[in-house]
């Protein structure tokens, strides 16, 4: 709350009642400005733990709040690059983003879900440029190393998150944030929650392994070859843009990841004993 107030004071003098806050996920700060203070207060609660005091921002968005028009989030999503600018559209929002200036605009109703989708898309585009990606996976840190648990809905991401021992730090039960850095791949906590309905911790750790989840009659781990691993990984990467060059980048990023990070199939009975295998 303090950050929002401080930012509000500094901004109000230069921009007509525009308020702002910075949402920082994966060490990428995104500044959000709006004239609607109640909306920003809502975001501050939604992204608690990820609202930072960063003065610099990698991306800046002006949010114009419009009345709901009855069109929902179930409409088809469109993410296209036109004349160098990204255009993001779904029934419940429209957004533009100029990657040259890293500034953009969002038009939506006063709800936290639309901007949540925009943030996921913007992060996925930013990460694709550096060989990194968002993954439909739970992740947790144990003994200073991060473990990823990927799978489609129902595969057990939330279940294995609930079964995590007390010494495990949950990064997310739904959308994992993977960044390629000089020393290897790192997983970051995200506020993107699944059935657990709880944000992850805003910490990061080097990735030790990726587990492909499957439920079965016993707990066991099997190694997975790189080709099969890349197919499974590509099925779980969140990428929304219809852009040939970035599609190719994401593919190469997935291939690079499975070449460097161990990938296993983790079959598990829903009991806490499965975590004895995660070391």
């Amino acid at each position: 709350m303090q950050e929002l107030t401080a930012s509000m004071d500094s901004t109000a003098t230069s921009q007509l009642n525009r308020h702002e806050l910075v949402i920082e996920i994966g060490n990428i700060p995104v500044r959000v400005r709006s004239a609607n203070l109640a909306f920003l207060r809502m975001l501050e609660n939604r992204y608690v733990g990820f609202v930072g005091g960063a003065r610099r921002a990698d991306f800046e968005f002006e949010v114009d709040i419009a009345p709901p028009d009855g069109v929902g989030a179930d409409d088809d999503l469109s993410v296209l690059r036109r004349s160098g600018r990204w255009s993001l559209a779904r029934g419940d929002f429209r957004a533009e983003w100029d990657p040259a200036s890293n500034q953009g605009s969002i038009r939506q109703s006063a709800n936290p879900y639309s901007i949540d989708s925009v943030l996921r898309i913007v992060h996925s585009l930013a990460l694709a440029r550096e060989g990194s990606f968002l993954l439909h996976a739970a992740s947790a840190v144990r003994n200073g190393r991060a473990f990823l648990f990927a799978g489609a809905s129902g595969a057990g991401k939330t279940t294995i998150s609930r079964l995590a021992p007390a010494d495990a730090v949950l990064l997310t039960d739904e959308v994992s944030y993977i960044r390629r850095q000089e020393s290897g791949y790192f997983a970051f906590g995200t506020p993107f929650a699944g059935e657990l309905a709880k944000s992850g911790e805003n910490v990061s750790a080097p990735i030790a392994a990726l587990y492909l989840l499957a439920k079965g009659p016993e707990n066991r781990i099997e190694s997975v070859g790189p080709a099969e691993a890349s197919r499974a990984l590509l099925e779980s990467i969140l990428f929304f843009a219809q852009d040939p060059e970035l599609v190719k980048s994401v593919f190469l990023a997935a291939c690079e990841f499975v070449s460097r990070v161990p990938v296993h199939r983790l079959t598990f009975v829903p009991d806490a004993g499965v975590w004895e295998l995660i070391v």
Binding site: G225, A227, P244, K248, F251, C255, S259
Partner: protein, 106 residues
């Protein structure tokens, strides 16, 4: 006499060999392809300047136990399928400039 056919890898794809499998992603429609051994040989030889019958004769028939006419027929079918997905270019003339074979990530 049947005209020669030349094949070249498309610029619209990314490819990487993982283990023994050649994985290819179409940037155009995000379709993922996995090639078997024979298809991989043709893919790697598709430099735009070597005709398909030369590829079959020098690369397929020399490595795999297959009759040349059968190998060429199978290769024609494979090439047409890959071309229909936009991951191979096919022409009756040599295709220039050749598309480099890049199997490594950045």
């Amino acid at each position: 006499m049947t005209k020669k056919r030349y094949v070249a890898r498309s610029y619209e794809i990314a490819a990487r060999k993982l283990g023994s499998e050649m994985m290819i992603m179409s940037g155009r429609d995000s379709t993922l392809f996995s090639l078997n051994d024979v298809a991989t040989v043709i893919w790697e030889a598709a430099d735009g300047s070597t005709s398909l019958d030369e590829i079959v004769e020098s690369r397929i028939c020399s490595q795999f136990e297959v009759q040349p006419c059968v190998a060429l027929q199978d290769a024609e079918t494979l090439v047409d399928e890959l071309a229909s997905h936009g991951i191979l270019l096919v022409s009756h003339e040599p295709i220039f400039p050749p598309v480099p074979l890049q199997l490594e990530a950045r």
